[in-house]
Symmetry: C2
Subunit: 539 residues, 2 copies
C-alpha cells in the first residue's frame, strides 16, 4: 500500500516469489527484504451462510493486489480522513481475503504471527482502510509474519434469519465465523510463509479490539490463536437485554422492505446487493426509531457459537490461558479536533480561559478535576483535562481488573497512548493515534511524525507488541519495567515522549470525571461516530 | 496522497499555510518545500444543470483532505490494479473539487500552471484515482503549480434531457462545463497560489487526453488555457453519425426505468442516486443491445457549446494558437500482461516460438511485419512486434499531421513512451505507463522503477513537459533535438533507456500492422476496457 520511494528493484517474476498453500500456488512480491502476498482468499461463502474452505486451483495464482472489501452500505469521507489517512478499495460481498507480510518463505522458519483485525465497529472498515495498517515495517522491525484480513460486516455478516429456517440458524454470526475461517487458514497455511502456527497473536483496534475479545468467547476459535491485543475497543458493552428481539425485528423489517414473504426467504440470497443494502439501511433507521437506541450490527450472544461479552457472561475457561495486552488512547473521541471549544490552539489558551471552559464543562467538580488531572499528568498542559477520554479508559480499568481477578487467567497488561500530535499546534491523541506507532509506521503519517521522537517511540511501542507476540510478556529493554494488572491495581504503561509506568495514576481522575462526554463538547463527533448513520430512507 | 517516509515536520496550524481565494480563506499543508491544498471546491451544481461559482464562506476553511469523486456507477478492481496502482476515494455527486501543489504562495510569483485532467473515459476515474497523479514531485521538479480536478462523469455529466425542456438544453455537456468551470476558477484564483493565470497548460491521459482536446473545441474555454498535452487519448474517434438519436433514446430509457413520465421530468433531479445509477446502467445495456455498439458516456457535438472532434468538424480557429504535445505508449492495451500468448516471459522465448506466434497472429504478413519492426526498433526483442500498439499510434500519426497541416496552427510535437517494465521479467509499456515518468514519480511505482534508469528518464520526460509548459516547446538540455510535426512527416521523441528521435521511423510498420488488435491477442483485455461493462440489469 505504501507508495514509498523505492531504492531497489521490486521482484515479481513468473516463478519468484511463489509459495504453495493447501489450495494451490501463490505468486507475490518481494520488496527489499519483505515478501508480500495480497488478496489471498481464505474462504468462500454463500450469502447468509457460514464460510467454507476456498476453492483449489491449478498453476500459479497472482497475490499482488488486495482483495475486495466488504460493502459498507454507505462510505462517507470520515471526519478524520486527514489525521487518520484512509485507503479505500472496491467493495464486494466476496470479501474473504487476507494479506501477508513476511521476512521468510522457509517453511521451517516458524516466526511469530501477528494477525490484524480491522476497526469500524462490525459494520465498516477493511484490512486496508487505514494506511497505518500496512504490515511491511512491523514485519521487518519484529521479524514477524503480519497478516490482515477482510470479513463480512453489517447486514451481510450479522442478519438473524434464524426465524426463517434451520439453514439460517447461525446467520447472525456469519461475520464472526469469517474471522474463525481466517484463523483456520492461517493455522493450515502460515508455515509456508515462514510463520509459526503455534504462535499466533490476534490484535485489533476499536471494532477490531472487540473482535479480538470475541474470539476468546467463540469455541470454534479455540486453539487457533495464543495471545490477544485489544486496542481502544471492546472492554465493556455487549448485548442489550432485548438483543434477540431486536435482531428478529431487524430481519423482519429487511424482508418487508424487500417485499419478500417468509415462505420466499431463499430469495434474500439472490436479491441485488443494492436492494439488500437499501433495505438494511432503512431497517436500521426504523429499529433505532422504534427502540430509541443507537443499535448497529454485531455478533449475537447465542451461548452456542458465541458466548458474548465476558463482563456479562463470564470469561470462557477454554481461553483463560491467553495473555492479553489491552489499552487505549488518552484523547480517543474526546480530542480537540472537529470540536470547537474555542478558537485557536488549546496550547495558547490562558489560565483564565482554561478555567472558564473547565467551569462550563465540569461545573462544581471543575476544581477537583483540575487537581486530580495535575496529579495524574503533572507535565501536561491543563487544557488537556478538557479532552481526557473516559469511555474507553474507564472500560479498560474495569475490564483488566476483572480479567486479572478471574482464577487461572493468564497475565493482562494495560497501556495508554499519550503522545500529543504536533498537528494544529498540538492535538490530544485521538482514536487510532497509536496505530502508526505499534505498526512502526509513524514516519509515514503526516500528523503522527515528530522528528527525533517518533523514531524512538515506535521502537518502544512496536517493540512491546512484538515482545508480547513472542513471549506473552510486553517487557523489553527499551521501556521501563511493566507489571501485569492485578485484581486491585492497574499498572499502566504510558507511551509518550518519555515512557513511564503509572500505578493507578489516574484512578482519582476517572472517579471524578463524568461517565462519557455527552453533550458539550464532542457531541457532534460522538454522534458522527456512534450515532445512527445519517442515512435517509427514500422509498 | 503519498505515504512516503517523512523527514521533517508537516506544517498545518491555525494560521499557516492560509491562502485567500475569491470565495474565502483556505488552510492547507506544507510538506518540506511544497504547499498542498486538497479538496478545493471550484463550483457547485444542481443535477443536470451547468455549474455555478462555489458558495463563499467566512473564516478559514480546511483544504487538507480530497473532495468527493464523481460516482462511477460501478467500481471494479481494475485489471491493472497492481501495475497502475490505484487510490479510491468516497464518491458523491457533489464532486467539483480540485487539488493544488505549489512551491510558493506569493501572489506575484507567477509560476507556470499545469492542470491534470484524469482518465477513465468520460465515465470513470478521478483526480486521485492513480497514485502517479500525485503532483508534489512535479511541482518540486519543475517549480510549477500542479492542479488536478474531479468533475461530473457518465449519467451525471452527459445525459441529454434536452427533449424535456429548455432548462435541460445543455445537460448533455454538464461534465464538459465542469472542466470549463475549473479552468475559470484557476484563472480567477491561481495567482494566490503562486501561479500565473496567463500561462496555463492543460494535460491529460486516455479520457483525459480527449478532455484536453475537447477544451480546444469548446468556446467557453477560450482564453482560459495556453498549451495542451494529450497522452494516449483522443487523437481520433468522436461522434457517431446517429449520436443525437442515441443520446435521446438513452434519456428516454433512463426516464422509463425510473418510471418518470416526461411531464414529471423534474423528478429526475431528486431521485435517489442509487436508482438513477441503476437506471443508467440498464439504459446503457439496452442501448448497446439495440444499436450493436459499445456506446459509452461522453460530451455531445452540438456545434454550440461543443464543436466536436476536429478530425470530423475541423480545428476551431480560436484555439489554433495553442501548441500541443501529443503522444502515446509503445504497448498501450496490446501489452503482454493479462494476455496469455504463451507461458512464461516473452524475453525467454526462442526465435522459433516467436515465429510461430507471429505467423498465427499476422498470417502472411508476418515476415514483412518482422522486417519492418526490426527497422523501426532494431534494439528491441522481436517478441515485442506482437505487442505494438496501433490503435493510438496510428491515431496520433494522423492527428498530429492534420493539426500541422492546418493553416495558422501552433507547433505540435509527438512522442512515444517505449521503456520496458522490469515486472514479470519484462513487460511492454502499457496504457498509463508514462504517467510515473511525466509526473516525476517513477521511484514510487513498483512496476515502473528501474534503479539507475528511472532517475534519468523522469528528469528527461518531466523536463520536456515542464519546458513545454513554460515555453510551448518541449526541448531542453537533457534530450536530443526534438522537431515539431510537419504536414508530411512525424518526428517522434522516443522516451526509453536512451532517448532518441525517429523521423517517420515506424511508418512502414504502421502501414503493415492491422488496424486494431481485435481478437487474439488482447481481446479479453480490450473487452474489459472498451466493451460494455459487465453490468447485468436485475429488475
Amino acid at each position: 500500500m505504501f507508495m514509498r520511494k523505492l531504492t531497489s528493484q521490486v521482484v515479481c517474476t513468473y516463478d519468484d516469489p511463489v509459495v504453495e498453500t493447501k489450495q494451490g500456488k501463490l505468486r507475490g512480491l518481494k520488496i527489499d527484504s519483505t515478501y508480500i502476498f495480497r488478496g489471498v482468499k481464505y474462504a468462500d461463502a454463500e450469502r447468509f451462510h457460514f464460510p467454507k474452505s476456498p476453492a483449489s486451483w491449478e498453476g500459479v495464482k497472482e497475490a499482488i493486489t488486495y482483495g475486495y472489501c466488504c460493502p459498507e452500505i454507505n462510505t462517507p469521507v470520515p471526519h478524520d480522513a486527514y489525521n487518520v489517512p484512509h485507503f479505500w478499495f472496491p467493495q464486494d460481498e466476496n470479501c474473504q481475503y487476507l494479506n501477508i507480510w513476511t521476512q521468510s518463505i522457509d517453511k521451517n522458519a516458524k516466526k511469530p504471527v501477528m494477525i490484524w483485525m480491522h476497526g469500524g465497529g462490525w459494520f465498516s472498515g477493511s484490512s486496508v482502510e487505514i494506511y497505518s495498517y500496512d504490515g511491511e515495517n512491523l514485519s521487518i522491525f519484529g521479524d514477524v509474519v503480519v497478516v490482515s484480513l477482510n470479513h463480512r460486516l453489517n447486514v451481510l455478516g450479522f442478519l438473524d434469519l434464524s426465524a426463517y429456517g434451520d439453514e439460517y440458524k447461525y446467520s447472525a454470526n456469519c461475520g464472526l465465523a469469517d474471522l474463525v475461517a481466517a484463523l483456520k487458514w492461517v493455522n493450515e497455511n502460515i508455515a509456508a510463509f515462514g510463520g509459526d502456527p503455534d504462535n499466533v497473536t490476534i490484535m485489533g483496534q476499536s471494532g477490531g479490539g472487540a473482535k479480538v475479545l470475541s474470539m476468546l468467547q467463540t469455541p470454534a476459535a479455540d486453539g487457533l490463536f495464543h495471545r490477544g491485543i485489544m486496542q481502544s475497543g471492546g472492554p465493556t458493552g455487549g448485548a442489550a437485554k432485548n438483543e434477540k428481539e431486536i435482531a428478529l425485528r431487524m430481519a423482519d423489517l429487511v424482508l418487508q422492505f424487500l417485499d419478500i414473504t417468509p415462505d420466499r426467504v431463499k430469495e434474500i440470497e439472490t436479491v441485488h446487493y443494492y436492494d439488500l443494502a437499501e433495505a438494511a439501511a432503512q431497517a436500521l433507521y426504523v429499529i433505532n426509531e422504534e427502540y430509541g437506541t443507537s443499535y448497529n450490527w454485531g455478533p449475537q450472544t447465542d451461548m452456542d457459537y458465541y458466548y458474548g461479552h465476558p463482563l456479562q457472561t463470564g470469561f470462557r475457561k477454554e481461553s483463560l490461558h491467553i495473555p492479553l495486552l489491552a489499552g487505549s488512547v488518552l484523547g480517543e473521541f474526546s480530542n480537540n479536533f472537529d470540536v470547537f471549544l474555542k478558537e485557536g490552539s488549546k496550547n495558547a489558551w490562558s489560565d483564565a480561559e482554561k478555567k472558564e471552559l473547565m467551569d462550563r464543562w465540569y461545573g462544581d467538580k471543575a476544581d477537583a478535576i483540575l487537581e486530580a488531572f495535575k496529579e495524574a499528568y503533572p507535565k501536561r498542559n491543563t487544557a488537556d483535562a478538557l479532552y481526557v477520554d473516559t469511555r474507553l479508559r474507564k472500560g479498560y480499568l474495569e475490564f483488566t481488573k476483572a480479567r486479572a481477578a478471574t482464577e487461572g487467567a493468564a497475565p493482562i497488561y494495560n497501556w495508554l497512548f499519550n503522545l500529543e500530535s504536533p498537528w494544529m499546534n498540538g492535538v490530544m491523541p485521538w482514536h487510532n493515534a497509536e496505530e502508526p506507532y505499534m505498526f512502526h509506521n509513524a514516519e509515514y503519517i503526516e500528523t503522527a511524525y515528530i522528528p527525533g521522537v517518533s523514531e524512538r517511540l515506535q521502537d518502544q511501542m512496536a517493540g512491546a507488541w512484538v515482545a508480547f507476540a513472542k513471549t506473552g510478556n510486553p517487557n523489553h529493554d527499551l521501556i521501563p519495567n511493566w507489571p501485569a494488572v492485578t485484581p486491585d491495581s492497574v499498572p499502566t504503561m504510558m507511551f509518550d515522549e518519555e515512557c513511564e509506568v503509572g500505578i493507578d495514576h489516574d484512578k482519582k481522575l476517572m472517579e471524578l470525571l463524568p461517565d462519557a462526554p455527552k453533550g458539550f463538547p464532542g457531541s457532534k463527533l460522538m454522534k458522527a461516530i456512534f450515532g445512527v448513520k445519517p442515512y435517509k430512507p427514500y422509498k
